[in-house]
Amino acid sequence: MTESLQTKVLTANLDIPDLHRLDVYEQQGGYASARKAVLEMSQDEVLETLESSGLRGRGGAGFSMGKKASFIPKGTMDKFLCCNADESEPGTFKDRLLMQRNPHLLVEGIVIGAVAAGANRAFIFIRGEYSEQADILDAAVDEAYAKGYLGKGVFGSQIQVELAVHRGEGAYICGEESALLDALEGKRGNPRLKPPFPANQGLYQGPTLINNVETLCNTPLIIEKGADWFKALGVGNSTGTKLVSVSGNVQRPGNYEIELGISAREIVYGLAGGPLPGREIKCWFPGGSSAPVLEPADLDLPYTFEAMAEAGSMLGSGAIIVVDDSVPIVGVALRLAEFYRHESCGKCVPCREGTNWTVKMLQRLDQGMATPMDLDIVASVQENIIGNCLCVLGDSMAMPIGSMIRKFRPEFEGHIEAARAAADQAAAVGEFSAVELAATPDAGAGVG
């Protein structure tokens, strides 16, 4: 029954042995779409097809891919396409699967994306931790160059598409598009002030289109089967399929490709097996750790961009993290805050200070040094981050932490009480008191 809940389009061929080799990929009809886009279609026709398919960005923001490509100005200057393969959003591992098993689908998608944007130079920015996948992509790019599918005059046309794989060195912020561009230019990955937007002034100040791996991997299918075929999948403005990464407290974590619009319950219970026996779901992140948490009752919502937004969260990168009732919510909040504190680039004060203070306050809370009033302060810190920075990294902590405090306030208050009682008891028997613990550098801190 689990197979029938999946709609395998992007992942249809993944089990074919050696699919990462160009000859095997071509036996499955590979590169026919890129050839068609380059030789038989005009740039406007490619743009029109992508736009009318309703394909929305799969990296997190969910913006129309065709529309984004149409913002690239026309002209003879160097134009760039950057594939965002920095997949660092906690809980997300869908692009890893695509790049590892079907690298040529991405290369083909990049050729199509380059035609749409009129770009002559393309880069795949892959996170440094994915060294194995980067090697696979390097080999695929070499194969495509040798065949004349990349380089000057692709498929014998006048079109030039140069492609190189660029490895990051471990920084979550480089998934933010303007930070990605700085990292690609060889700098610290700090987000840029926008406008100007990358479409006008991006990489090396040139017009730049930036798309996620899964977004680009969808384009060969749309060119092959048509916009109407793609639009027929999904519901409303959430067209197509989505690769969903399910993780956390479920029986079968993994990547599942679903048609947008099936219920989240079908994904979490039907595909991922639901929580372990005897456990109940406490809450779930619908779109990576940056998405505000939702409650078990929200599992009956259709899994679409719109429904998740209406519920006060977001579909984001399509990563569902399930938290069960065995896990204290304070621990989850602290872990998250520590992550964002570590990854904040430090450029904007609300994010740099806000993530740091959130960690400190959650630690106090966990160590029995807080009162329920501190919860209001933590919540107000979150409100002062949102919308006040150059990029959304700070918001990405503030939104889920704010939602946890709102939805699990009684548990936070109970945790404060229990931690205070434990600290008092420890002090009474002569163990470290809470005050002494706080004086210890990095007490209770994890990564940082």
């Binding site: 689990t2 160097d78 997949e87 660092s88 959003e89 906690p90 809980g91 997300t92 591992f93 692009d95 890893r96 590892q100 130079r121 996170r127 440094g128 931790e129 994915y130 194995e132 190189a164 660029h166 490895r167 990051g168 060195e169 471990g170 920084a171 979550y172 690609l184 230019e185 060889g186 700098k187 610290r188 990955g189 090396y204 990464s245 993780s247 956390g248 407290n249 029986q251 079968r252 974590p253 993994g254 990547n255 097996g273 992140f285 750790s289 990563a319 993290i321 399930v322 938290v323 069960d324 896990v327 621990g331 989850v332 872990r335 998250l336 992550f339 570590h342 990854e343 680039c345 990564v447």
Partner: protein
């Protein structure tokens, strides 16, 4: 590759206060900087891949780190001499990225993911067990650290051993993982993502 890295003694490199009397380091003279031929070739090839040579900074520092074990002042000076940029510029880059080491922490690495999804599946205990075993077995020259989400939450809890993803891990795997690294054997054969026929334990039950 086999010479052990110097052990860190007190403040070093980036933790030292800047000497404000000293003029900033200039771009090292190419003729006066001894750069291993292989590294020079690699950095020069990397610079050619981009319209702007400075784009090669990240991969070039990574290449130098492979030679020196970390982004030491010497490694940075060598890259700076080939790339024709100041050491300060490269130091600013190296200090930003987690995978570029500005201290000699070890030539090999074990990154144990302890981010949210792995946290929910007991990753901290796995990390602590590996750290405990490494100390017990006297494992040296390996950088063992908690790491941010490595993008393998389906394998949680998991670790990246020099880029090879292994998982799902249990605290009971720690001893074998550490001794395999120590004896230079493959770590947990069959349980690495790139291994032929790799499957998650529950994948057959679908």
């Amino acid at each position: 590759m086999s010479t052990p890295l110097p052990k860190r003694k007190g403040p070093l490199g980036w933790d030292e206060a800047a000497d404000l009397e000293k003029p900033p380091a200039r771009i090292p003279e190419a003729a006066e900087t001894d750069v291993p031929a292989e590294l020079r070739e690699r950095v020069e090839a990397l610079m050619k891949r981009y319209p702007d040579r400075r784009s090669a900074a990240l991969p070039a520092l990574d290449a130098a780190q492979r030679v020196h074990g970390w982004c030491s002042p010497e490694a940075i000076a060598q890259v700076a001499a080939v790339m024709r940029v100041t050491p300060a510029y490269l130091a600013s880059v190296a200090t930003f990225y987690d995978m570029l080491k500005t201290e000699p922490l070890g030539r090999r690495y074990v990154y144990v993911c302890t981010s949210v999804a792995c946290h929910l599946r007991n990753a901290k205990a796995v990390h602590d067990a590996i750290e405990y075993e490494a100390a017990a077995q006297g494992l040296e020259d390996v950088d063992i650290r908690e790491f941010e989400c490595l993008g393998a939450c389906d394998m949680a809890p998991m670790a990246s051993v020099d880029g090879r993803y292994v998982g799902p891990l249990d605290t009971s795997d720690a001893a074998e993982l550490v001794s395999a690294i120590k004896e230079d054997r493959e770590v947990l054969p069959g349980r690495g993502l790139p291994d032929a026929g790799f499957k998650l334990p529950w994948e057959d039950s679908r």
